[in-house]
């Protein structure tokens, strides 16, 4: 062993470590050829040893079947209690939630292939185990070879009984460890005769067959082969992941061609084994021919077939096409398939002289590898499926065809007086086309025969007899029958193609409509509406969108009886379908489909079919999946639009704040600097004259007043921004507010002439008085700042129409700039680099306040000079005042 090969133990170590690093639990399978080889025993022994070493080991479920030695092994090991499941007669089942919450690092979960009692979360125990592994818990489990999906058929052939409880091969393949628990058949037989072997009920019937020595040898061989394959695969995986082999051929792609027939499941299973041997990817392909119609049973079979294939790791494709051979070859070329697998039908050709599909393919493309697998009961054309109309359906169609021919004959009888027989033939052909188009192939053929018969019987001499006098007519009949049959075939095909096309088109256009609607959506509520109005009718089901709220918990937008949020949450958390018609939590009333966006799951769609069964039509399912993808995309788009908007808002807020901060810090620092300097000068009064001291002190006071104004405006603005503009409105007289504002502004306005012109009979206005006063004070301050001493400032008010106007005007230099509206934008000041302090806060605050009152504020320059600020406030309906006479 010095050829440089890595030590297998090292390899296993690597795999183990890799699994561990990925955070997923490790699965160890105790694998046996059949019941009674001692898997549970071996598993418990291993667990006990770990437990003795101090590992955190617990028993999830163990089937001891009452055997004492096994029972003894479980003693001393901690147990996750079983739970009762199901209504009526509850059954003790493995408690998945309890196990997840138990905190054990390693759990023993016996009987991997077990089918859970109805009402459990998952249909199968292997799904429970998957969830444990996903949660990072290691699992020891046991399974027999006959329960593996891929060998199910083979075992069925050996023991004569199909095992229903199967485990997908990928579980077996992905297990970290597989321990073969082997017992030679002779020993097993000895144990059995000693009564030490328990058999599941399903196999009990076949007990005599099952434990034949030949069977046991065959099963043992199967088990050994399985384990040997696995070890090979392990090593190869290691090689690939470590690039040991320099040249690695591109992976093969095996394409398995199936028809919609139950027997094809065996073909799929065989192909799975084959693909694995070849280490190839594989696809299962079915050609959807137009004439297959809408047979529900076939659809169901196909759907099951797809599920089986996907369960075994294959991709499934249902491709539409008229010519099977060509469609398959095109698809194979497109996907670069290297081998085609098809069933080798045992029966005779259905259509004589027509080469079988395999031959046709081989002829059309001799290079492609073709593998024919003998599969029992495939029968007939492997890729053909004959739609079977029900007997009553046929009877009805034939009856209508007969009636149509009769009507044709009657009309022909009327026309015969005018036209000759040749034209009558045409009339019958028209009837045949009509029947074939409306009623299909069979009715068309019947109509053809009937037409010829009627023509002979009613219109050809001698009439009312099938006897033909002129032998020429025999040729006419033969020709007419041939033409009629041909026409009816063509018409029927046309009809079925049209139908398939219509169905396809209906789905395509529905999807296009949904996608188009969703593409324009900007709110989540709109998606809900689209689900309800556009998507739900397609499936004749009710749909509900469940979206994650805080902490990723799903929230229903509406309360529906059918909704089960815990199932939805599971589906969302695991990004897997759950509920009705799935393998998980299928007791739920609705199907829950996770909406997988490209970045993350965005929610769950609940599909509630009501009283009808959930659609299993693969085309419908594809359409539903496509709709879900579209919804997920729309949700993701909305999510990112929101994120983007938030960011933009934050950025704009940031920008505004920065502008404000720099403006405010400038305007605050200016008076502060002045105050500080002036005060420092005053600290040495000896150097100053009496007059200078007074002058300095006055300057300090004026700077302080400026600061006060600034701070007041800032505080008001901050309050309005944080609380929104909350108005404390009451009915006021405008005179009072103006009076208050004028008296407060008087010191600033001092060297100017101030006039107020308010009519005595102004009505009451409903305003927040201190805020309106603030507006006036700001306007008056503005006038004080931008007009020279000696100017006149006039405040006047009045009513016009439905509003009260309030005007502050001056005869100063007027407003700067062309657009006075700009003055009301935050932080704009009339003159740049003005020496006059004050952030442009004042006017923007004014506008916010007036707008909050439902009013307007405008500014304009007045010719020849001066500026005008006009406020308009809406006049409400002032409250009634009781007349004074009534009061005295």
């Amino acid at each position: 062993m010095t050829d440089g090969r890595p030590d297998p133990d090292d390899l296993l170590q690597v795999v183990k470590e890799e699994t561990h690093r990925s955070g997923r639990g490790q699965l160890k399978i105790f694998f046996g050829a059949c019941a009674g080889v001692g898997k549970t025993f071996a598993m418990l022994q291993a667990a006990r040893q770990l437990h003795a070493e101090g590992a955190s080991v617990g028993i999830g479920i163990v089937e001891t079947h009452g055997r004492r030695e096994t029972q003894a092994l479980t003693e001393g090991l901690p147990v996750v209690p079983l739970k009762l499941v199901g209504s009526g007669r509850p059954i003790k089942e493995f408690d998945l939630d309890g196990a997840l919450a138990s905190g054990f690092k390693l759990l023993i979960v016996d009987e991997l292939a077990h089918t859970n009692a109805a009402g459990s979360r998952h249909a199968k125990r292997w799904q429970d185990v998957e969830e444990l592994l996903d949660a990072g818990i290691d699992v020891y489990t046991a399974v027999n070879v006959q329960h593996l999906d891929s060998v199910n058929d083979i075992v069925g052939g050996i023991i004569g009984v199909r095992v229903r409880e199967t485990v997908p091969d990928r579980i077996f393949d992905r297990a970290t460890d597989v321990v073969l628990v082997d017992l030679p058949p002779d020993d097993l037989l000895t144990r059995m005769s000693a009564g030490k072997v328990y058999l599941p009920v399903s196999i009990e019937r076949a007990r005599q067959n099952f434990f034949r020595r030949g069977n046991l040898i065959a099963l043992r061989e199967l088990a050994l082969r399985k384990v040997a394959d696995r070890v090979n695969a392990d090593v190869r995986t290691y090689r690939i992941s470590h690039a040991i082999q320099k040249v690695w051929p591109t992976r093969e792609l095996v394409m398995v061609c199936v028809s919609a027939h139950r027997s094809q499941e065996a073909l799929v299973r065989e192909s799975a084994t084959l693909a694995k041997r070849l280490e190839a990817n594989w696809i299962v392909v079915h050609v959807d021919q137009p004439h297959q119609g809408d047979d529900e049973q076939a659809r169901q079979t196909l759907f099951n077939l797809a599920a089986t294939a996907q369960g075994m790791g294959a991709e499934f494709a249902n491709i539409p096409g008229q010519d099977v051979t060509q469609t398959l070859l095109d698809y194979a070329r497109k996907r670069n398939a290297t081998k085609l697998v098809m069933g080798n039908p045992a029966g005779r050709n259905v259509i004589p002289f027509r080469p079988r599909l395999a031959e046709r393919i081989a002829r059309a493309n001799p290079e492609i590898g073709l593998i024919l697998l003998g599969v029992q009961g495939t029968g007939g054309q492997p890729l053909r499926f004959r739609p079977e109309r029900t007997a009553p359906g046929y009877a009805k169609a034939l009856l209508i065809a007969t009636a149509a021919c009769s009507v044709g004959a009657f009309v022909a009888n009327l026309l015969l007086r005018v036209f000759d027989v040749a034209n009558i033939v045409m009339l019958f052909l028209v009837v045949v086309v009509f029947v074939a188009l409306r009623l299909g192939r069979m009715a068309g053929a019947w109509a053809s025969l009937l037409s010829v018969a009627m023509l002979d019987f009613f219109f050809i001499e001698p009439r009312l007899s099938f006897v033909v006098s002129d032998t020429q007519y025999i040729f006419t009949f033969a020709l007419m029958l041939a033409v009629a049959l041909m026409i009816s075939q063509l018409a029927a095909r046309l009809r079925s193609e049209a139908r398939v096309a219509r169905a396809g088109e209906r789905r395509a256009s529905a999807l296009a409509r949904v996608a188009r609607n969703l593409s324009g959506v900007i709110k989540i509520e709109q998606i809900s509406t689209i689900c309800e109005e556009a998507i739900a009718p397609l499936f004749d089901a009710r749909l509900e969108l469940l979206l994650p709220g805080a902490d990723n918990k799903l929230v229903a937008t509406r309360e529906y009886r059918f909704l089960d949020l815990s199932v939805a949450q599971w589906s969302y958390d695991h990004v897997q379908e759950a509920g009705l018609g799935t393998q998980t939590l299928n007791a739920a009333e609705a199907l829950y489909i996770p909406l997988k966006g490209p970045m993350a799951p965005r929610g769950v769609l609940a599909v509630y079919p009501g009283d009808q069964p959930l659609t299993t039509n693969p085309d419908d399912r594809r359409l539903l999946d496509a709709c879900c993808s579209s919804i997920a995309l729309a949700l993701e788009r909305i999510h990112f639009v929101e994120v983007a908007q938030d960011t933009i808002l934050r950025m704009e807020g940031e920008k505004l704040r920065n502008t404000l901060l720099s403006a405010v810090s400038h305007d605050l620092k200016t008076p502060l600097t002045a105050i500080r300097g002036l005060a420092e000068t005053l600290e040495h009064p000896a150097d100053l004259s009496e007059g200078e001291r007074g002058e300095l002190a006055r300057s300090i006071r004026m700077q302080a007043d400026e600061l006060k104004r600034l701070v007041t405006n800032l505080l008001d603005l901050a309050r309005m921004q944080s609380e929104g503009v909350r108005l404390n409105k009451d009915w006021h007289t405008m005179g009072e507010i103006v009076g208050s504002a004028l008296s407060r502004s008087a010191p600033v306005l001092a060297p100017r002439l101030i006039r107020a012109d308010l009519p005595a009979a102004l009505p009451l206005v409903e305003v927040d008085a201190p805020l309106i006063e603030r507006v006036l004070i700001n306007l008056l301050d503005n006038a004080a700042k931008y007009t020279p001493p000696g100017s006149t400032v006039l405040v006047r008010a009045g009513t016009s129409g439905e509003s009260m106007y309030l005007v502050v005007e001056d005869n100063g230099p007027g407003l700067p700039g062309a657009d006075p509206e700009k003055l009301f934008e935050p932080f704009s000041r009339g003159q740049k680099e003005s020496s006059i302090a004050g952030v442009g806060l004042g006017l923007s605050l004014c506008r916010s306040i007036i707008v909050a009152h439902g009013g307007t504020i405008h500014a304009e320059s007045r010719a020849p000079h001066g500026s005008v600020f006009e406020i308009r406030l809406p006049l409400g309906a002032p409250p009634e005042i009781e007349s004074e006479t009534g009061h005295d």
Binding site: R701, A704, K708, T712, L715, D730, W731, H732, T733, G735, E736, I737, V738, G739, S740, L742, S743, I754, A756, D757, L758, A760, L764, A769, P770, E773, V795, P878, P879, I881, E884, H887, D888
Partner: protein, 245 residues
């Protein structure tokens, strides 16, 4: 002449300092305290003629202190508040304060308010034989006969206008809140209709002020109440005290 005794309750030392300096220059006797607790002790021991109380004290709310003092002290209380909110002022006035000043305030304004309050309180406490005639600006009011003269000419007031005017006169320049005025003039049941006062105040101004939009006597304290400024009372005369306030 007895120096008026003033107690300043204010936690900010610099404000105490300039208020003290300004008042002492006016010949007043000033005591300082920084907490409500000390204020209670000083109020009992110093017996001040006037309190200047800051609303935001470190150990208690100024309004609580005012309410407590009002229980056993009749001296005027002048409130200092940095809080711009009108409800604060109204609450302080309703608690028993006589006037308020919003920070930052100027020294002249402070002195004017202090003098006005001292004058009012001395009139209220000394006044015995009351003349019923008062004067403000060009207006003479005879509270007994309800006669009002402006520039020597009779002015007719409606009964409510007169009751409103006399309520303000009885306040002696103290700020009277809307609620107090409504109670006094209209009676209970009208306390939620401050627009009544506004209407009648506007009418009073039209009749008694030179420029009603820039009043000199009937002063609005926006959102708080009203004050009559410039009231002159002839020697030895006093209107009946405003006992309901």
């Amino acid at each position: 002449m007895i120096k008026p005794r003033i107690l300043i309750v204010e936690d900010e030392a610099d404000i105490r300092r300039f208020v003290r300096l300004a008042l002492e220059k006016e010949g007043m006797n000033v005591f300082e305290t920084a907490t409500a607790e000390h204020a209670r002790i000083d109020a009992a021991s110093r017996k001040p003629d006037l309190f200047i109380v800051d609303l935001g004290l470190p150990d208690d709310d100024g309004k609580t202190l005012i309410r407590e003092l009002r229980g056993w002290v009749s001296s005027p209380i002048l409130v200092l508040s940095a809080r711009e909110h009108e409800t604060e002022k109204v609450e302080a006035l309703d608690a028993g304060a006589d006037d308020y000043l919003v920070k930052p305030f100027g020294v002249p304004e402070l002195l004017a308010r202090v003098r006005a309050q001292l004058r009012r309180s001395s009139i209220v406490s000394n006044g015995a034989a009351a003349s019923s005639i008062v004067r403000f600006g060009d207006v003479t009011v005879d509270l007994a006969t309800h006669e009002i003269l402006r520039f020597g000419e009779a002015v007719h007031l409606t009964p409510i206008e007169f009751r409103l005017l006399s309520a303000l006169i009885r306040g002696h320049g103290k700020v009277i809140t809307h609620r107090q005025l409504l109670m006094e003039v209209w009676g209970p049941g009208y306390s939620e209709r401050p627009h009544y006062i506004r209407i009648y105040m506007a009418q009073l101004r039209q009749k008694l002020e030179d420029d009603p939009s820039q009043p000199h006597h009937l002063i609005t304290e926006l959102q708080v109440g009203y004050r009559l400024s410039g009231l002159e009372i002839s020697e030895g005369s006093t209107p009946p005290s405003n006992s309901t306030v």
